[in-house]
Each structure stands twice: as C-alpha cells, then as structure tokens.
Amino acid sequence: MTPDASLAIEAAGLFKSFGDTKAVDGVDLAVRRGTVYGVLGPNGAGKTTMIRMLATLIRQDAGTARVLGHDILAKADAVRAGISLTGQFASVDEDLTGRENLILIGRLLGLKRKEVKDRAAELLEAFGLSEAGGRLVKTYSGGMRRRLDIAASVVVTPQLMFLDEPTTGLDPRSRNQVWGIIRGLVSGGTTILLCTQYLEEADQLADRVAVIDRGRVIAEGTPAQLKTSVGSGALQVRLLDPDQRTEAAAILVREFGAVSPDTDPAALSATCSDPGRAAAAIAQLAAAGVEITGFSLAQPSLDEVFLALTGHPSAESPDRTASVEENGP
C-alpha cells in the first residue's frame, strides 16, 4: 500500500473476529483529510470494532491500515499523537467534575498547569458547560455528557477524530447541539470518522458514507448517491381544514406524481426526499390558499436503506429492530 498524503485513513481488508463472530469482515476504507466520513450501520454491524482497531485500541487479525499516514500496528504511538476518540459510551470520568475531566486530559497531553486551566474554561464555555463545569459528571444529562466527551477530545485539536454514535439516545435538542459542534469541528479542518445508526445524521454531516452490515461494506458513496439508490422519504402535510384536501392533493400530485393514502383526513403525504422540492410544493399550497398546520420531510429509515441495499431488514433479531427504532431521532 503506497501512502496517499491526502488520506487521513486508508484501510485494506481489515478483519477482526471474536470467536465465531466476524465483527469486521474485510473492510476497505479511504477517508480524505478535512472531510466527514460516515459509517452507517445497525447495532452489531461492526462499527465500534472498526473504530477500536483504527484508534489502536485493539489489533486487527488481518488486513492493514494507515491512519494519518502511519501504520496502525507499527506506528501506534504516532497514530495516537494525532487522533482523538469519543467512544460509544461516554468516555469521561463520572466521579470527576467536568472541569477536572478536561484538566486531566490536558495535563496528559502536556499542557502546562496554567494553560490547562484556561483551556478547560474556554472549552466549557464553547460547549455550553460553564455552569456545570464544577459539578460531578454523574449528575450530567446525556447531552451534557456527550458535549463534555467531545470537548475532552479537542482539548488539544486532533487531526482526526473518531466519533462513535455521538447522538444515540439523545433528545432532538441535544442532538442538534452535538451536530452544531461537529459542524464547528469540521469547518475548523478536523477530519472526522462518524459512526451512526441514523441515515439522517450521515446525510446532515457526512461528505461520504459507507454502509456496513455484518462487518462488510455493502454500499459507499455520497449521501445523495446513497439516497438515490435507496429511493426516497416522504413529505407529509397537515391541513388546517380537511375540506381543502382535494385541492391540496391535486397540487401534490402535480408536484410529485402521486399522494399516498392516509387514514388521517387532515394529513397528506407524497414520496419525496429533496427538501428543495418539498419547499416548492409547500409554496404552491400556500399560493393556492391551502392552509397547513405543519409539514415534515421524513427520510428513509435505516431499515428501508437496508431493505433496499441488501434485500433483508437490518436486524437479525426482533429486539434489535426495536432498539434501533426506540433510539431513533
């Protein structure tokens, strides 16, 4: 493998098994520097195992990878010097305060006593944790913990950051805050490998996405390519007055070709995944005097993506499907 300087991660045939489970089964990856690369897959797909290999926490059984130009086995130290990891389960110390967590990491990374204090204060401020900074982390909400976790990962700005399911289990508000933080990191030039179970998250943040299932990459491309290959989501409109339904349906049929039957007399939905076209349709409705109380654009769920890509649902066991849905944003 000849190193390509424009790549932050370059992996070929990565393989790791636990007993009979092939957790990661021959993965190739190429992640450009300065981009966000999404790894999309259901529970148990192998996302965490992949991150743990790339972050030098476990050794692969086969295959090779270079992270920031360094071989992950031969030059693990050099890799560690340029990465940071925000694990799936908050990788902060619950028995310490938020501020102490940041100071701990800062000291370990070689910041001086004075520098590290200022740095912790600066980060707490930027991540909306100033007031909570002196409290023990075990009293934090899930969203606060996540933000602290990410703050701990940028005490010294990494070149490459691994984020493992940063918004799983968060409420929509916290999720949006985390997304804002990730966008900030990206615009600052950090490369991010983002594992997620949510197509919407990958769509919002990632430049490219690999879909993985049972340890294998089953699709790779930009989110737009992925969505096109999968088909689309749905625009749902709620009418103020159900009597305007026929009129509204005519407009949506003109825009999208068809409307789906809906049991709710005040609701209408049509197949659509393009926010631009959805907005145009809403404008049309307004122009025609149809009053609406709300609308939403739902993207295809991970299950639909999987069904489209593999012909089988994402989950192997029923309770796995349930947990994916429960945690859905």
Partner: protein, 281 residues
C-alpha cells in the same frame, strides 16, 4: 423523522462559531514523560477520594469496629487486659485496614473498564502503563489515610507504641509498600473479572481468610499445630509481626526483609501481567 426548516435550532450558529474558535487555538505540546503521566493519574485518584469518600470510609470503618470490638469484648479474655491486647492487636488491625483497601484498587480499575474512560486513556499518546501505575500511587495515599485513621483511634483508646512516631511511621510505610505489591493481584483480577462486584467478592474472599488465619488477632502459639504452621508462614502474619516490632522498637530485620521481598515478588509477577492485560484491552 426530521422537521423542516432545520434552522429552527436557536443556539446552533453560536455553537458552531464558539467551537470553531475554541479548536482553532491549540498547538500540540510535546509528549509528556512517563512519570508526569503517572503522577497525573495519581492526582485523578486523589480527586476520587475527595469526591467519593464513601469508599474510603467503608473500608476504614470496618477495621475501626474491629478495634473497638476486640479491645473491649475479647481483649480481657485473650491477653489478660485491654491495654495489653491493644498493643498486640493494633499493628495487626492497621495491616488489615490497609490490606482491605487494596481490593478497591482492583474494583476501581474494573469500574473504569466497564465505563468508556479507559478507551480514551488508551488512545492517548502516553506511556501505556501510566494509568495503572498512577492509580496505584494515588491508592497508596488512600492506604496511608486509612492507616492513620487506625493509628489515631488506637492512640485515643490507649495504644502507646514504644518506638513513638518514627516507629509508627516506619510500620505504616512498610504496610503501604506491601499493599502496593499486593494490589497488583487485585488489578489483575480487575482486568480478568467481569464486574466491579465480582472483583470485590473475589478479593474479599481471598483477603478475609488470609487475615483471620494470620497472627493479626490471636497469638498463633494458642492454635493447633497445623494451623500454627500455616499462620506462621502467612505473609500477613510476617507483616503484622514486623509492624509490631517497628512500633515497639524491636524490629526484626529478617521479617522486614521477607515483607519487602514478597512485595517485590508480587510486583514482578503481577505488574507485567496487569500491564499486558491492560494494553491488550
């Protein structure tokens, strides 16, 4: 399901700008030395004593109860008078108190592992053993505190070490050194067992019988021959005897030598084992 327009998120723009500003400002400092990394982890251990004092209190209260119970209930019967018995038993209980604390070193490590925080430590560009060595250094401070508590309780009850403060300090030092060695066994357990509770149970299942089958509480010459033989070779007995000697100003160098050798042996065997297990993850 996502609701558009997505920009209906109040703090978003400011979040992004603040984050961008915060991450723009840092230069990566040079790698820290192994010692400095370990000391930083020691500092973390100290913070835990401050924030979660319950653990230290738990393990210290039991030995204090033992001091009171044995001194007043059994003291008269076993050694003739409470004062005399206290002089015999206090160094032993000091040993017990500090040794109980070593189990918690394993419990704490296992707790770290079951949370995600070890993954972060292991992904940092530091000496890989620093978290382990640092925690044990921090734990040693915990050992000293729990030992001091017992000494103070003893002094209040009438314990009078003939060798005074230097003797008591030397005894405490020896106990802490031995505990440092012993705690490597528990950190190994902490890495092998599944839950903090399992570590605690296994730890106490080992340390309890060993403590009671030592000369901490009774003079072994009163025991049946086979038991006496075991009690006499039990390192905890030797440690207790050495501590008594140091406190009474008639330390046996041979005993002290054995204690130090056992501590070194435990460290030589279990420290690399712990480190290997820890690095492998």
């Amino acid at each position: 399901m996502s609701v558009y327009p997505a920009s209906a998120e109040p703090g978003r723009a400011t979040d992004e700008a603040a984050v961008r500003k915060a991450i723009a400002s840092t230069v990566r400092p040079p790698k820290v030395s192994p010692l400095s990394a370990a000391l930083t982890f020691g500092w973390r251990g100290m913070l835990k004593v401050k924030h979660v004092p319950e653990q230290l209190v738990d393990v210290t209260i039991t030995p204090v109860m033992f001091v009171l119970m044995f001194t007043y209930i059994f003291g008269g019967a076993v050694a003739g008078s409470t004062g005399e018995y206290l002089n015999y038993i206090l160094p032993g209980i000091l040993v017990m108190s500090v040794l109980f604390n070593t189990v918690y070193s394993g419990v704490a490590l296992n707790t770290d592992l079951t949370k995600g925080v070890v993954d972060r430590f292991r992904s940092l560009p530091i000496w890989p053993s620093a978290p382990l060595v640092g925690s044990l250094l921090g734990d040693s401070v915990r050992y000293v505190i729990s030992g001091l508590v017992i000494l103070v309780v003893g002094l209040i009850l009438g314990f009078r070490p003939q060798a005074g403060v230097p003797g008591a300090a030397a005894a405490l030092g020896l106990v802490v050194i031995f505990s440092f060695g012993l705690s490597w066994i528990f950190t190994t357990l902490g890495l092998v067992l599944r839950s903090p509770n399992a570590v605690m149970n296994a730890g106490f299942m080992g340390i309890f019988p060993l403590t009671f089958l030592s000369n901490v509480f009774v003079d072994p010459t009163t025991l049946p021959g086979w038991l006496e033989a075991f009690v006499n070779v039990n390192p905890i007995s030797i440690l207790a005897t050495a501590s008594r000697g140091l406190m009474q100003g008639k330390a046996d160098l041979w005993d002290i030598g054995i204690v130090l050798a056992v501590a070194a042996g435990l460290t030589i065997v279990f420290a690399p084992l712990t480190t290997r297990l820890y690095r492998r993850g």
